[in-house]
């Protein structure tokens, strides 16, 4: 602590020499270190601190620590303040900060007080470690995703975000409809996490993956002796989801017999395990998802109408990735970021050509397919930018030929902008707010451009 205090205070040449020696040491470690004075102004900021926060030392020194560090605890429960007030250090407290790219970075922080020769507290020191890689792995294992993991600036998705809290608050059954890989489970999890049942269990059942008989015992459980191999009672998923949420994926794939059984649970709020005659109350929120058009299945007589109305109390329709192409660059960056964290590679992004290919590709497998494509390219990429040769062959083959560079009048930026604005306005029937959101610019910018190009 004395070293740091010296770094902070002394202007004596001997101290400066010593300090530069210690500064080399502090700059060589992987942990971020900064010190503050009694007015919470930063007095020292090491190289790792610059790297983790993305703030250069010159910009950090002299500013209030909370305006540089941007941790979630800064405004409500500052660890340094607690340490300086109580004299007690904080060890390995998990927090998160927001970096210059708006990303939340999980950190582990420790704090201690700085004293002068007389023992007076002159400030504090905070050290911190980047936990991104560990947290990423943890999330990968536990699949603990939140609505903040849904990456989109698409208007339709933003509209869903607006109603999501109300949906979550209610007890109504939700039907999430969307093609495979469009993120249905992520939305189901988000609803659960925002609901009053968030502390209860969240149980996922893929109805399409199990044959009828197995599905019944999976959902409702069985009692000892129900069938030859039933040596003891086994609770079903509905029982496990008690006071929580059950997510029934691929609901459109269940048989008519199962549909009847499910209808009973939804109507009566009770079920009977296989082989039992005693009904069990089910206090469970049900969220269903399908990649099929259930209303059409009802028309075709393949899905019970009464069950359809039971599960279709609130319907969320997720667009395919091909209908939200503006999200493709966001998602590419997100996946690369995640893979960089996991693999310790440092890939900056994709080349313009790759982006052009991906923007034109149809993504039958939606976001999941994009994720796989990026992972494939990431593995093959040895440089810092993903090039077309790193993409899977079928993506290149299935992508419509890239446009040649526009010639003559169409080449200038102005005509391209006019074209983009017109397309967006047509798409949203002249609604400027929605068009601006689609174009990724502000309403006022759109208005200015429309005025300039005589589109008003």
């Amino acid at each position: 602590m004395r070293i740091l205090r010296d770094v902070v205070k002394s202007t004596d040449p001997i101290y400066i020499k010593t300090n530069s020696f210690y500064e080399v040491i502090l700059n060589s470690i992987g942990e971020g270190v900064f010190t503050v004075n009694r007015h919470w102004r930063i007095t020292y900021f090491n190289r790792a601190a610059e790297k983790i926060t993305g703030v250069p030392k010159e910009e950090a020194i002299g500013r209030p620590c909370y305006e540089v560090f941007n941790a979630n605890i800064c405004q409500t429960d500052c660890a340094l303040r607690r340490t300086i007030e109580s004299g007690k250090p904080v060890v390995e407290q998990p927090v998160n900060i927001v970096d210059r790219q708006g990303r939340k970075i999980p950190l582990s922080i420790s704090t201690a007080v700085l004293r002068d020769e007389a023992g007076e507290i002159v400030g504090g020191v905070e050290t911190f470690r980047d936990l991104s890689a560990i947290e990423e792995l943890k999330r990968e294992i536990t699949k603990r995703y939140t609505f903040e993991d849904i990456i989109s600036k698409n208007y339709e998705i933003q509209k869903i975000f607006q109603i999501l809290p109300d949906i979550a608050e209610s007890e109504a059954t939700v039907l999430i409809q969307g093609p495979s890989g469009s993120g249905k489970e992520l939305f189901a999890k988000a609803i659960h996490n925002l609901s009053p049942r968030k502390n209860g269990p969240y149980i996922v059942v893929n109805c399409g993956a199990l044959p009828d008989t197995l599905l019944e015992s999976e959902l409702f459980g069985y009692v000892k002796g129900a069938f030859t191999d039933a040596k003891q009672d086994k609770p079903g998923r509905f029982a496990l989801a008690q006071d929580g949420t059950i997510f029934l994926d691929e609901i459109g794939d269940i048989s008519p017999a199962m549909q009847v059984k499910l209808l009973r649970v939804l109507q009566e709020k009770e079920f009977e395990p296989l082989g039992s005659v005693r009904p069990i109350k089910a206090n469970v929120r049900v969220i269903c998802a399908t990649n099929k058009d259930l209303s059409r299945l009802v028309e075709e007589g393949k899905f019970r109408q009464d069950l359809y109305y039971r599960i279709n109390v609130i319907k969320i329709e997720l667009p395919p990735l091909s209908k939200r192409r503006e999200d493709i660059p966001l998602l590419i960056d997100h996946f690369i970021e995640r893979l960089n964290t996991r693999s310790k590679k440092n890939i900056i992004g994709v080349s313009d050509e790759v982006l052009q290919i991906l923007m034109k590709y149809d993504f039958p497998g939606n976001v999941r397919e994009l994720e796989n494509i990026i992972e494939h390219a990431f593995i093959l990429c040895r440089g810092s930018v993903i090039q077309p040769e790193h993409l899977p062959k079928e993506v290149i083959e299935k992508t419509p030929r890239l446009d040649k560079t526009p010639v003559g009048k169409d080449l200038n930026l102005e005509s391209l902008e006019i074209k983009a604005i017109k397309t967006a306005l047509e798409k949203y029937k002249g609604h400027r707010g929605k068009a601006a959101a689609e174009l990724g610019i502000d309403k006022s910018t759109l208005w200015r451009k429309m005025k300039r190009y005589g589109l008003l």
Binding site: E67, A71, V98, D442
Partner: protein, 131 residues
């Protein structure tokens, strides 16, 4: 639309007397009705980030059109911009200073929309010039 000329609701999340360093952790927001570069009305609202989506929807429903704030996570930035709210992030300093700079168009000059893939931002210049 010139935000300084028309009547507009400006939200500034607060921490003590300063622009809150982080929007999604601010407990309080100052909402100012501004017309022709003059503050016509002010009020304080409480922010509860326990349910971020609910809070964001409330901000939107209140009709706030501009938010001057410090750090802001991507998700929240995308939500606000997607709902037509003008976001001026990475502003630090006393809120009166920030408002003054906004009304004089000095924040506008430096403003950078969160339109890039990873909502890349840069530091406001006005604060540094002050020091």
């Amino acid at each position: 639309m010139d935000f300084c000329e028309a009547e507009v609701l400006v939200g500034i999340p607060l921490f003590q007397n300063r622009v809150a360093p982080r929007l999604d952790c601010a407990c309080e927001m100052l909402v100012l009705k501004v017309n022709r570069k003059e503050v016509k009305d002010t009020r304080y609202i409480t922010l509860n980030w326990h349910n971020a989506l609910l809070t964001l929807n409330q901000i939107k429903e209140m009709g706030i059109e501009v938010i001057i704030c410090g750090a802001v996570p991507c998700f929240i930035a995308r939500f606000l911009i997607g709902n037509g709210i003008k976001l001026i992030p990475w502003v630090s300093g006393e809120w009166q200073e920030a408002l003054e700079a906004f009304l004089e168009g000095r924040l506008e000059e430096k403003f950078y929309f969160f339109s890039g893939p990873l909502c890349k931002t840069r530091k406001r210049g006005w604060r540094k010039n002050k020091r």
